[in-house]
């Protein structure tokens, strides 16, 4: 057993912490208000070689491990969760399926611009009538000659406005009366493809969440990603990896909330004492620190298993479920410790709570995580 980060991990963490404090945190309140996408931050992250973090150097990636991905995602989310989800979705939803299932040619063509930051990565799975039950997909892709003709719509798709292409899931036929779902790569400038960016969200305001509409969108036959009919299996694999990203985001938000609450409790005096002198406040902070420690350890464990090439589906679900739930609890307590100030945007903890809520919903709700874990433990 060894719980130490390697020297590279430690260096990456220090560097990302500095970067997040100096470049990401300062505009976070403003971006939450204006819903301005963090374009400049991502230009810098591209220059720093972060956009292709886990992917092969052949495609412009850095070939780093999942622990590194968790570290970067946590540090970005600590400063600004909108930046964190943009990054996490870019890597684990956008890049990962291409990396896992793409042909050499597809990787050269589609993964490379993701690694360089020229295109953001995105993944279109959820539909108006297919959320937790993603098998309920209604979007269709019919083969006509050498082309897929796509019709249907997707909802809540992260990063699509800033992507040059993305993988979507669609019904490509029936197999013994069962729907056959496949993944297809679609360029975002294809004719008949509309991306609508006008949701009014509770949080993660500076991230890009979109609706996709396909009206007779034609893409070449070779845009099929992976094996025809394997779309369902493929996205389950993709989501396993994505859950580590959500877990890391949750740890980042929780850490930010804790840091603010601890500092505030030492500064704020009531009844002639600082809040941190009250045992009830101390116990709250102790519980918050405990939960964060456990969540981060679980995120690292899931990431480590993935890096060892071992099964990590159960642990990924556990880390995502636990970290997202404690992020909500910790953010809630951080607001409570701030009293009336915590209810004000200026003190940021209220944003942490709004941002954290998505983590209990996206990439599988908490209920879905419990279903996954239950299946793994033999129910």
């Amino acid at each position: 057993m060894n719980f130490d980060l390697t020297q590279e991990h430690q260096m990456l963490k220090n560097m990302m912490r500095d970067f997040a404090n100096e470049k990401v945190a300062p505009g976070a309140i403003e971006r939450d208000k204006t819903k301005q996408f963090p374009t400049e931050i991502f230009k810098e992250l591209s220059d720093m070689g972060m956009m292709g973090l886990p992917f092969d150097e052949d495609y412009g990636g850095a070939g780093a491990d999942t622990i590194s991905f968790a570290i970067v995602t946590e540090e970005l989310s600590r400063a600004c969760a909108s930046t964190g989800i943009t990054y996490s979705a870019h890597i684990s939803l956008g890049g990962a399926p291409l990396h896992l299932f793409g042909t050499e040619e597809q990787k050269k063509k589609y993964l490379t611009p993701i690694c360089t930051g020229e295109s953001f990565g995105a993944f279109g799975l959820t539909e108006p009538n297919a959320g937790s039950d993603a098998g309920g997909t209604q979007t269709t892709a019919k083969l006509e000659g050498d082309e897929w003709v796509i019709n249907g719509s997707k909802v809540y798709i992260t990063n699509a406005s800033h992507a040059k292409h993305l993988a979507i899931t669609a019904i490509t036929g029936t197999d013994n009366g069962k729907k056959e779902i496949s993944a297809i790569i679609v360029p975002t400038d294809a004719e008949g493809f509309t991306i609508i960016d006008n949701y009014e969200k509770m949080g993660l305001n500076a991230s890009n969440t979109t609706e996709l509409v396909f009206e007779n969108v034609r893409v070449p036959k070779e845009n099929l990603l992976g094996v025809q009919g394997n779309g369902f299996k493929q996205f389950l694999t993709t989501l396993d990896g994505g859950r580590i990203g959500i877990g890391a985001m949750a740890v980042g938000i929780a850490q930010a909330a804790f840091d603010k609450a601890l500092r505030y409790s030492k500064e704020r005096k009531q009844f002639g004492k600082s809040l941190s002198e009250f045992q009830i406040t101390q116990f709250k902070l102790a519980d918050m620190a405990l939960k964060i420690e456990l969540a981060r350890t679980m995120v690292y464990k899931a990431a480590w298993l993935k890096d060892q090439g071992r099964a990590f589906g159960k642990e990924a679900a556990m880390c995502k479920l636990y970290a997202s739930e404690i992020a909500m609890e910790v953010a809630d307590e951080a607001i409570q410790i701030h009293g009336g100030y915590g209810y004000m945007k200026e003190y940021e903890v209220e944003r942490f709570m709004r941002d954290a809520k998505l983590l209990e919903i996206g990439e599988g709700t908490s209920e879905v995580q419990r279903m996954v874990i239950a299946r793994h433990v033999g129910c």
């Binding site: 430690q10 260096m11 990456l12 560097m15 970067f19 720093m48 070689g49 850095a62 780093a64 590194s68």
Partner: protein, 256 residues
């Protein structure tokens, strides 16, 4: 161009520092590259990228200083040297300059960069002393550097004003804030840093006798600056305020 950078591992003074028993407590303190040395590293990398050559970063300290050297390698330096002084009792600016100069004397350095001061000791002596020992030109607190052949045009900060001057290589300069904006190490840089050469030397390897580099100064006491007290706002008639102020400066602050 053969470029060397003198780098020091220091306490992060933005983090909490605890003094006990006349020493700064190392446990729990955060360590960083001295911020002025970061400017020096950045400038070295830029000079190399423009003129070719190699950047070697040097530090003195214990094994822990490898972290700061690896960070410099991740930023883009080519090689690193750690002069291990863990077993040496008493070191000061004299000792440091002497050891570094011993290492550098046969390296035919074209350009040596250092920080203007280290934020821990704050003496600003090591750079100039090394240059003196090597018998080369030096310019302190530089904010701009332009190299043309072996002619170097420099702007330096003189208490807020700028002095422009010209000198020749080989040269030692010390970096002031404003010289550049140090880059963040890139991810590929971090991943390659471990594979770059890092040489570890003992004083013996440099033929230095510990007694010859014994500190010339003695630290009498280390203490934290006094806690900042809340200010006092004087009130009332201007005449009375002035009187009160003069009185307080005499009796309380005892500065007049």
């Amino acid at each position: 161009m053969n470029i060397y950078v003198l780098v020091k591992r220091t306490f992060d003074t933005e983090e909490k520092i605890v003094v006990s028993g006349g020493h700064i407590q190392e446990d729990g303190a955060e360590f960083i590259i001295n911020p002025y040395d970061e400017y020096a590293i950045e400038e070295a990398i830029q000079v190399r990228d423009a003129h070719g050559g190699e950047v070697t970063v040097i530090t003195m300290g214990d094994e822990e200083a490898e972290k700061q050297l690896r960070t410099a390698l991740a930023m883009g330096a080519d090689k690193a040297v750690l002069i291990n002084t863990e077993d040496v009792e008493d070191l000061d600016q004299f000792s440091a300059a002497h050891i570094l100069a011993e290492y550098l004397k046969d390296k035919e350095a074209d350009l040596i960069l250092a920080g203007n001061v280290a934020i821990d000791g704050g003496s600003g002596q090591v750079g100039p002393r090394v240059a003196e020992l090597l018998g080369i030109n030096y310019v302190t607190t530089i904010t701009n550097l332009e190299i043309n052949g072996d002619t170097v045009a420099i702007k330096r900060d003189v208490e807020g004003d700028t002095e422009e001057l010209e000198t020749k290589l080989p040269l030692l300069v010390t970096a002031q804030q404003g010289l550049n904006e140090p880059r963040y190490p890139s991810l590929p840089g971090i991943m390659k840093a471990k594979k770059k050469p890092l040489e570890e030397l003992e004083l013996d390897d440099l033929d230095i006798d510990e007694d010859d580099v014994e500190a010339k100064t003695e630290t009498v006491e280390i203490y934290l600056p006094p806690k900042k007290e809340a200010g006092k706002v004087l009130q009332g008639d201007l005449q009375d305020q002035v009187k009160e102020l003069v009185g307080l400066l005499r009796t309380e602050a005892k500065v007049i």
